[in-house]
Symmetry: C2
Subunit: 338 residues, 2 copies
DNA sequence: TGGCGCACCGTGAACGTTCACGGCCGTCCC
DNA sequence: GGGACGGCCGTGAACGTTCACGGTGCGCCA
């Protein structure tokens, strides 16, 4: 038996096989300088003790490798999934690892999860996390300071504790989208907002309307809903109810926009004939709904790359990276829904 | 400067601040027994040296924590995303961590990625990986043996090296789906297969047709395509071309089924009036396409739980778990497409 | 028969951190 | 004035593994 309560170590195996640590290492790692008989004895002992090398100890001697945590609320949301995919690939490109943390709906579970994750990472990236989610972070992380592990927001809102932030160029992006809608003859353009996200998108929209003499006579409809397909559906129903003459909708994100598409179909409003729909995010799924969704696309590969660059500089102690907000452009992808 | 080439350590900070290791630990971890002045000096030194505690060393003394790798080909595929979400949550429930590995399309990059991931995990779970993907694993892992790290397939095909496997009960699942189609009056039922996946689903389908006198007069159409929405679209086009009298299609998975839905819409075949469509997987997105997709749903939470159970037993050295194939049931969720 | 080389194996040391303990100095109280 | 105590700090040891080195015994050849 192993003498300590936990798993068995290499010396347990060595003792059982009647050899030294080093011989165990040699036998189990297919190195030279071990006789066949000894190797067999060691392997037998390792199996009997169910020996598993301690990864932490191995990493310790083999030099540090970098691990970055990715915190999100729901990976089954395709936006987060595509972002995670991009981050995983970009991280692999640099030899980093990404630790996944899907905190889900339960706050207390999420808190425990984050506390556990934090012990294993060198930095944390967050996406779609609002103030509530930030509060779930362990107090020691929140406090931050000199030793605090770098926190980077991949999008979404600002927060005092953040060491860096990637913001989307919603300004020119939304302007381009609205230009496009106007160019195709739309005049009653609504904006469907997220009820939890930041309100910068709505602000740009409003400014555009005012700047282009597009303000609704009876007041621009103010619709916002949950950031989900259901939310988009409900918002669309609200919208046509409150503004029957709407002929275009710019939607906070693609997921909600897909809900809008579905609701329009239910309400027998043809897209794009009766009403045009533009989403934001550039999700792949947008190409497969009917009609295919016009969208303001985010290059997630670029976003991931920039994020890792910032983290790299942060971890390297480059103070220039702290607090900086990198800007990512949006590109309008016109498909069938406009 | 740190004397070693890499990052600075706690003793570098200690030397610079003119204190001992332990005092640095105390100062940086908000412990007692440090004077304010000393604490400030230590923090300053840590900042100047950009000190970051070595996670491996910390984990080493604080006892091992379990990390399981999740290997998949493309997280932007919603099936993998939902699986990853479930696994992340189930793992968190047990205090385990999930290391994400989206290997993407590039074989060589994938190989490097896997080699890198393997150094940090205690076990590997795979999903949707065929023989080709398995070959990307490092030779040392493939060889396996006593010390080999446990490999578990979350679904998909068998492989010699696998220590465990979770199989879906396609038998009764597909039977239920076909029963449902027959009960709603369908007689020309096609099956759209994956060109890369295992062929057990098709076999069940064929046996059912033969057992229920549903074999097509001119031969059952054999359609298979890539496991993607595009693949589903192409398959559907093929299908209506080769079998214009088709009135139902059972599709290998939901992602392909969504493609089928889209193609049917393009071909002006109404779903479900002209042709019924049933997918497999139970993806959330199926509720948001039009019409909503009837599907054979997999409980991904259960799948993840079972997977971690198997890994737990495997890591605990329970030989009963090896080679065992746990079975997960499928439940038919009838929505609008049938 | 001495020496050389090879096959096989063992012993510190190191990785970087935390824990348990012990030491020193000043203050306060009896 | 001596003992107790508290604030502050340092020193081994330990976590589990691998690396670099050194050692032993045996065969082979000059």
């Amino acid at each position: 038996m192993a003498k300590n309560s936990g798993a068995s170590t290499i010396v347990d195996v060595a003792e059982r096989a009647g050899v030294s640590r080093q011989t165990v290492t040699r036998a189990l790692n297919d190195m030279v300088d071990v006789s066949a008989a000894t190797r067999a004895r060691v392997i037998a002992a390792a199996m009997e003790l169910n020996y598993r090398p301690n990864r932490a100890a191995q990493n310790m001697v083999h030099g540090r490798r970098r691990t970055v945590g990715l915190v999100l609320e729901d990976l089954s949301n395709p936006y987060f999934a595509e972002l995670a995919s991009a981050l995983s690939r970009a991280a692999a490109e640099r030899g980093w690892s990404v630790l996944l943390c899907d905190i889900g709906g339960d706050r207390e579970k999420g808190r425990a999860q984050l506390a556990s994750i934090v012990a294993g990472v060198d930095a944390l990236t967050l996406t779609g996390c609002n103030q509530d989610t930030m509060d779930l972070l362990p107090e020691a992380v929140l406090r931050g300071g000199a030793l605090g592990l770098p926190l980077l927001m991949l999008d979404g809102a600002d927060h005092a504790r953040l060491n860096g932030r990637i913001v989307l160029d919603v300004d020119s992006g939304i302007t381009a989208a609205l230009d496009h809608l106007v160019a195709t003859g739309r005049r009653r353009i609504a904006f469907i907002d997220s009820e939890s996200g930041p309100d910068d998108r709505r602000k740009v929209y409003r400014a555009y309307l005012e700047g282009h003499d597009l303000v609704w006579p009876a007041g621009t409809p103010e619709i916002s809903a949950e950031e989900s397909i259901e939310g988009g559906m409900e918002a669309a129903e609200q919208l046509v109810l409150r503004a029957p003459d709407v002929d275009a909708a710019l939607v906070y994100n693609d997921v909600m926009a897909i809900g809008v598409l579905k609701a329009m179909s239910r309400l027998h409003r043809r897209v794009p004939e009766d009403v045009a729909v533009v989403g934001i995010d550039g999700l792949q799924i947008g190409r497969f709904v009917t009609p295919e969704l016009t969208t303001l696309s985010i290059d997630k590969g670029e976003l991931a790359d920039v994020a890792l660059d910032v983290l790299d500089r942060l971890l390297a102690g480059n103070p220039a990276a702290a607090g900086e907000a990198k800007v990512i452009g949006l590109s309008l992808v016109v498909r069938e829904s406009t």
